[in-house]
């Protein structure tokens, strides 16, 4: 079964032009706001602990460094710049995630990531709306909490549903033995991506906010209506997840504890534990300024601009052709 090699790009000339315009739009947007463009390594010594992110190991052997990882996001390096006093920064980065390939995924993709010193999640959401709606010429987003979205679309309350009832709900897609290792957040992810996500942002863009604390990742956590929720937001347009932002966690002890919890989850699910990025933790100990940050998938923004349902329409050479 040898497929003939395809040398042609999968993206049209119009898509290539649209990509160039998007990059110009982004750079113009941040230049006006005096946000500094930076570049950080694509290849680093450390991977990430996040149990749902699989890095791609490298085989670098230079400068006394061996192994290493293609970065899943420029987050740690950019936060080190922030700790060093860079002020607000943005980056258009190539990032890598193993195992991710589909109509909305390519293992290598373009990520716009930026950090605003002194912003909280609310302020950053306004800036995200300006950037995205300026590019797509769409109406401004509405905001819905994670709980409201799950309640109104899936009919379950993610904050109060028992593990047993949640598993029972998920049995329409998975066998009981498959559910066993999934965990509460895995079940919620399933409901989110199978039931809720396709309905999000169909009329106008929608921000989802106040994620359960267990899905905080690197966002700070506070109490809302008696539940611990993360200062994390995502933007959805036409059922497509566009970005993920945080009012950033700056507490090094809490960060170390979350990394340890990640590695615990990794162990439990049979994945290798990841060494902690001590340079990043040292930067946090020195002091990350109060800031909010967000990562945005530029390929998906292009899909929306061009009305495409497949990421290969906007990437010149997706992995099979690369």
């Amino acid at each position: 079964m040898t497929d003939r090699p395809v040398w042609q790009p999968s993206a049209s000339r119009a898509a290539l032009e649209s990509r160039a315009q998007l990059l110009a739009h982004v750079r113009g947007f941040f230049s006006e706001r005096r946000v500094l463009e930076v570049e950080t390594p694509v290849l680093g010594r450390h991977g990430v602990t996040d149990v749902n992110l699989d890095g791609i190991p490298s085989a670098v052997d230079a400068g006394g460094v061996q192994g290493g990882w293609l970065q899943t996001s420029p987050e740690y390096h950019m936060k080190r710049l922030l700790a060093a006093g860079s002020g607000s920064i943005f980056q258009i980065a190539r990032v890598f995630r193993n195992g991710e390939r589909g109509k909305r995924h390519n293992p290598e993709f373009s990520m716009l990531e930026w950090y605003r010193v002194g912003f909280d999640d609310q302020q950053l959401m306004r800036e995200v709306a300006d950037l995205v709606c300026g590019w797509l010429e769409c109406s401004p987003p509405v905001t819905l909490s994670y709980r409201e979205a799950m309640q109104s679309i899936a009919g379950i309350d993610p904050m109060t549903i028992t593990d047993r009832d949640l598993e029972r709900y998920c049995e329409q897609w998975l066998e009981p033995e498959q559910l066993a290792g999934l965990g509460r957040d895995g079940c919620l992810d399933l409901v989110m991506s199978f039931v809720v996500e396709p309905k999000l942002g169909c009329e106008q863009p929608v921000f989802i906010t106040r994620y359960p604390a267990s899905q905080a990742a690197l966002a700070r956590i506070s109490e809302h209506q008696g539940f611990r929720v993360a200062h994390r937001f995502e933007l959805y347009i036409h059922g497509l997840e566009i970005c993920n932002g945080y009012w950033e966690l700056t507490d090094p002890a809490e960060q170390r504890a979350r990394f340890a919890a990640d590695n615990h989850l990794r162990r439990a699910s049979g994945k290798p534990e990841m060494a902690l990025d001590e340079s990043f933790l040292a930067a946090l100990e020195t002091g990350l300024p109060e800031c909010a940050g967000v990562a945005m998938g530029l390929d998906r923004l292009l899909m929306l601009k061009l009305g495409s349902r497949n990421i290969q329409d906007v990437i010149a050479f997706p992995i099979e052709r690369a």
């Binding site: 749902n52 195992g99 390939r101 998975l174 999934l182 992810d189 399933l190 991506s193 199978f194 899905q215």
Partner: protein
């Protein structure tokens, strides 16, 4: 037997599911940026032809099914089995039972080439080419010159298949028939 993990899933893959050989029709990768990845898969059960929808967690795997499709020439039937021979020059023969031959039996013509799907080395299904050419062995008398007008009549072909044909068709003519719809396509010019 080998197995395929979710990262290897793609349409066309032949896998075992609940003990039955299946072919993967569609594979959709679904993953929130910060969440659990799933593969939503559509498969056709090759035993029952039924389409199944299943969900897999990233990292799960399915056993590969020993299913191969081969071009084979139809030789003859002994009443219980239908005998086919590989066209690769090996002269290797396979006997397909009535279940494997299924509806294809009405399109089987000796020396024509069919796609035989083998499961664990035994014929599982026999698929006819999209078009076959068969002789009319019985039909009502033809109505000469009536080529423009509509209307049709049944005609029995050499394999026993009955298809609707235009009124002008006569016994002994060779017809091209679409096996997917069972419809008459045209007359084949006799040499």
């Amino acid at each position: 037997m080998a197995s395929y993990s979710t990262n290897e899933f793609r349409s066309g893959l032949k896998v075992l599911l609940d003990g039955d050989p299946c072919i993967m029709l569609e594979n959709e990768f679904v993953k929130p940026g910060k969440g659990q990845a799933f593969n939503r898969v559509k498969l056709r059960n090759l035993m029952t032809n039924r389409v199944w929808e299943r969900t897999f967690k990233s990292g799960e795997s399915l056993e590969a099914a020993d299913v191969v499709e081969q071009d084979m020439e139809y030789l003859y039937t002994d009443g219980e089995f239908w005998h086919f021979m590989l066209t690769d020059g090996s002269f290797e023969q396979y006997a397909a039972d009535a279940k494997a031959v299924g509806d294809t039996v009405k399109w089987l013509k000796e020396q024509d080439v069919y796609t035989v799907t083998l499961y664990n080395g035994a014929p599982l299904t026999v698929t006819p080419p999209n078009f076959v050419e068969l002789e009319v062995v019985d039909t009502d008398p033809g109505m000469k010159g009536d080529t423009a007008q509509g209307g049709s009549k049944p005609a029995t072909l050499s394999t026993g298949a009955v298809v609707n044909v235009p009124l002008f068709i006569t016994i002994g003519e060779v017809l091209k028939v679409d096996t997917r719809s069972g419809e008459y396509v045209n007359r084949v010019k006799s040499s």
